[in-house]
């Protein structure tokens, strides 16, 4: 079974961490995955950087730029992840924009994901219609989950369509925003989270964007199967000893 499906069957309050591949240093990608698993992360989203990340706020933009400037490429990422499954057993997704995937080649990309043991992908600017027409077969052939996003503005009919096309989890954005904004759970956000919860979707949901500490994480978990932390983690590992930074960041969530 796909590791993602298994995780959601076995666990609640899932903590997923996003980080940018090749940041802070090109060679850090695999080590960060190992450290995160050791310190209690349930799932990983490894971002492959893009020069024009329109859905991202300043922190992830800067990490992407630094990673690219230091020479990160998709080829290099797959090379770095070649022995991923020797040391990392939790689900791993790749997250990034569609153009690098197109240039790499969709078929080749799916093959490479399957080969190194990546379980799924999040490609925010890949539209549903394109996915259905050109990508779905390839993803399914390689047992890759494709994760779609929904926002407070996504219409119910579309949410059901996304639910049909998804086979991992649905990424619930806390608000329509670029990454790195703080989550303010007011009445409208609660109403939105409850609305989604009551739709009884077949896929589990993970809340992302704006989750930065234990308090926002717990809040998110009361509405979904778990939450995703990106910007706060990327910020935390910018400087200092990687091992110490990862473990002290994760301690706060496991308290």
């Amino acid at each position: 079974m796909n590791r993602i499906k298994q995780l959601f069957q076995e666990k609640k309050n899932i903590l997923s961490i996003y980080y940018t591949a090749g940041y802070p240093n090109t060679g850090d990608t695999l080590q960060i995955a190992e450290l995160l698993e050791k310190s209690g992360a349930d799932m990983l989203e490894i971002g492959f950087p893009y020069s024009d990340p329109v859905a991202d706020g300043p922190v992830i933009q800067a990490s992407s730029k630094q990673s690219l400037d230091q020479g990160m490429t998709l080829n290099l990422l797959f090379e770095q992840l070649k022995d991923l499954r020797k040391t990392v057993s939790i689900p791993v997704l790749l997250m990034g924009y569609v153009n690098p995937v197109l240039q790499f080649g969709v078929e080749k990309f799916c093959e490479a994901c399957a080969e190194v043991g990546v379980d799924g992908c999040i490609v925010p600017d890949l539209p549903m219609v394109e996915y259905e027409e050109f990508y779905q077969d390839c993803f399914e052939k390689h047992n890759l989950s494709n994760v779609f996003l929904i926002t407070p503005q996504t219409a119910e009919e579309r949410i059901h369509k996304i639910d049909v096309l998804t086979n991992g989890f649905i990424y619930l954005l806390s608000s329509s925003a670029t990454t790195g904004k703080n989550l303010e759970v007011g009445d409208t956000t609660e109403a939105y989270f409850s609305r989604i919860k009551n739709l009884n979707l077949k896929n589990p949901t993970m809340i992302g964007f704006g989750i930065s500490d234990k308090q926002t994480f717990d809040k998110a978990c009361s509405y979904a199967n778990g939450a995703i932390i990106g910007t706060a983690f990327v910020k935390a590992i910018a400087q200092g000893n990687l091992e110490e930074q990862v473990s002290s960041f994760m301690k706060a969530f496991k308290a």
């Binding site: 024009d52 925010p124 600017d125 394109e130 926002t151 503005q153 670029t178």
Partner: protein, 393 residues
């Protein structure tokens, strides 16, 4: 209709709407409504009234005598430089602001390169009393100071884009991020025929007034509405698309799109997209863009801020790939020389963008008597500093 958008939002292999879910409701709202709104008789009446009384249309089609003598062909200049605010950009912003009002939007955002689209947007926002935020690359803010001052005077907030090459591409990224963060009350007036469907089609429709008028004017002046050549410069490609629009199906009319070669196509400092680019996705559509083998967008260069963009609109990519349009390029120096020549022969100081199209005349061979239309997309007031420095005036 061979070159127009299909029901899926594509021009052949190009187009589509590659956008994150956060932008979907906005873009979908536009897609469902834009044709209905534009085709409405009241909308058309108000749009054309404003184009006439406020913009000053129709813009003249001027037979440039001394130019014609020099090149041995009848050179007509379509004088978009005489529009209010000094370029073709206002045709589109008038259309989009009326459309934004119909959609009930209260806040307008836009990106700008040379500042012409920013000024045109700030102008219509002042006219219709809507809040206006313009994103502009830091580099462009520096080289287009008069336009920045204009936008401020018109009441717009000018926000510097400081990521990447700090030019048009980055300003577009910032505007998209703004739209993601303001999904309900904001309309994004994209200034070129780029972006997710329906933007390329919508902007082309609003700019098509250029070729609509040109056809009528040619018929009056030459007895035929079919010229031999139509030339326009291409950054994203909005003036070119407006200039080509009603000629696309006239296969005997040769369409020539002039890109910015910068310091030369092989210099590493260029914006000649069709020469240097490959198919890919940028700013919401599949088109041709300058990129590394790994799919990272390459930073372009052109002396002209309005052409300093690493992609072209999807419809241009289609015209290029099908061979319907001929895509060529002109260097920084060639364009500046052509700008001075136009000034001295015709008493018209062209924008450096438009000077790229004029410069290509030097490379063409005429038998004599051909009718050639060049889109003079904007005036050169904003470029005086660059001209003065280059020619030591």
């Amino acid at each position: 209709m061979k070159y127009k958008v299909n029901e899926k939002g594509y021009y052949g292999d190009f187009g589509g709407a590659y956008i994150p879910e956060m932008l979907y409701p906005n873009v979908e709202e536009l897609r469902q409504n834009y044709l209905k709104i534009i085709d409405d008789a009241d909308f058309q009446k108000e749009f054309h009234q404003l184009l006439k009384d406020y913009v000053g249309r129709p813009s003249p089609l001027y037979l440039a005598k001394r130019y014609s003598e020099r090149f041995g062909a009848n050179i007509f200049l379509k004088r978009e430089d005489l529009n209010h605010t000094g370029a073709h950009k206002i045709n589109n912003t008038i259309g989009q602001i009326l459309l934004a009002e119909k959609l009930g939007k209260k806040r307008i955002i836009a990106e700008t390169g040379a500042g012409q689209h920013g000024v045109a947007t700030a102008t219509v926002c002042a006219l219709r009393n809507l809040e206006c935020v313009i994103y502009m690359g830091e580099v462009d803010i520096e080289r287009q100071a008069p336009n920045v001052a204009r936008m401020k005077m018109l009441g717009a907030k000018v926000v510097p884009a400081s990521s990447g090459s700090k030019t048009l591409k980055d300003a577009t990224n910032e505007a998209m991020r703004d739209w993601i963060n303001n999904p309900v009350d904001t309309h994004y007036i994209i200034g070129s025929v780029v972006g997710p469907h329906p933007y390329p089609d919508m902007v082309a429709i609003f700019q098509s007034i250029i070729s609509e008028e040109t056809k009528k004017q040619l018929l009056e002046q030459t007895g035929s509405d079919q010229p031999d050549y139509v030339l326009a410069c291409v950054g994203g490609g909005s003036n070119a698309m407006g200039m080509f629009y009603h000629f696309m199906d006239d296969e005997n009319v040769k369409l020539i799109a002039v890109e910015a070669a910068g310091k030369g196509v092989s210099s590493g400092f260029s914006a000649a997209t069709t020469y240097l680019g490959k198919e890919g996705v940028l700013h919401g559509s599949r088109s041709i863009l300058m990129q590394t083998p790994d799919g990272q967008v390459v930073e372009p260069h052109s002396v002209s801020a309005g052409l300093d963009y690493p992609g072209i609109g999807p419809q241009h990519a289609h015209l290029f790939k099908t061979g319907r349009g001929q895509y060529v390029s002109i260097t920084d120096e060639e364009s500046l020389d052509a700008g001075l020549l136009c000034t001295q022969l015709e008493g018209i100081i062209p924008a450096i963008e438009s000077a790229h199209a004029l410069a290509y005349l030097e490379k063409m061979e005429f038998k004599g008597g051909e009718n050639v239309v060049v889109c003079l997309s904007g005036r050169g007031d904003k470029d005086l500093d660059t001209y003065i420095k280059y020619f030591n005036l």
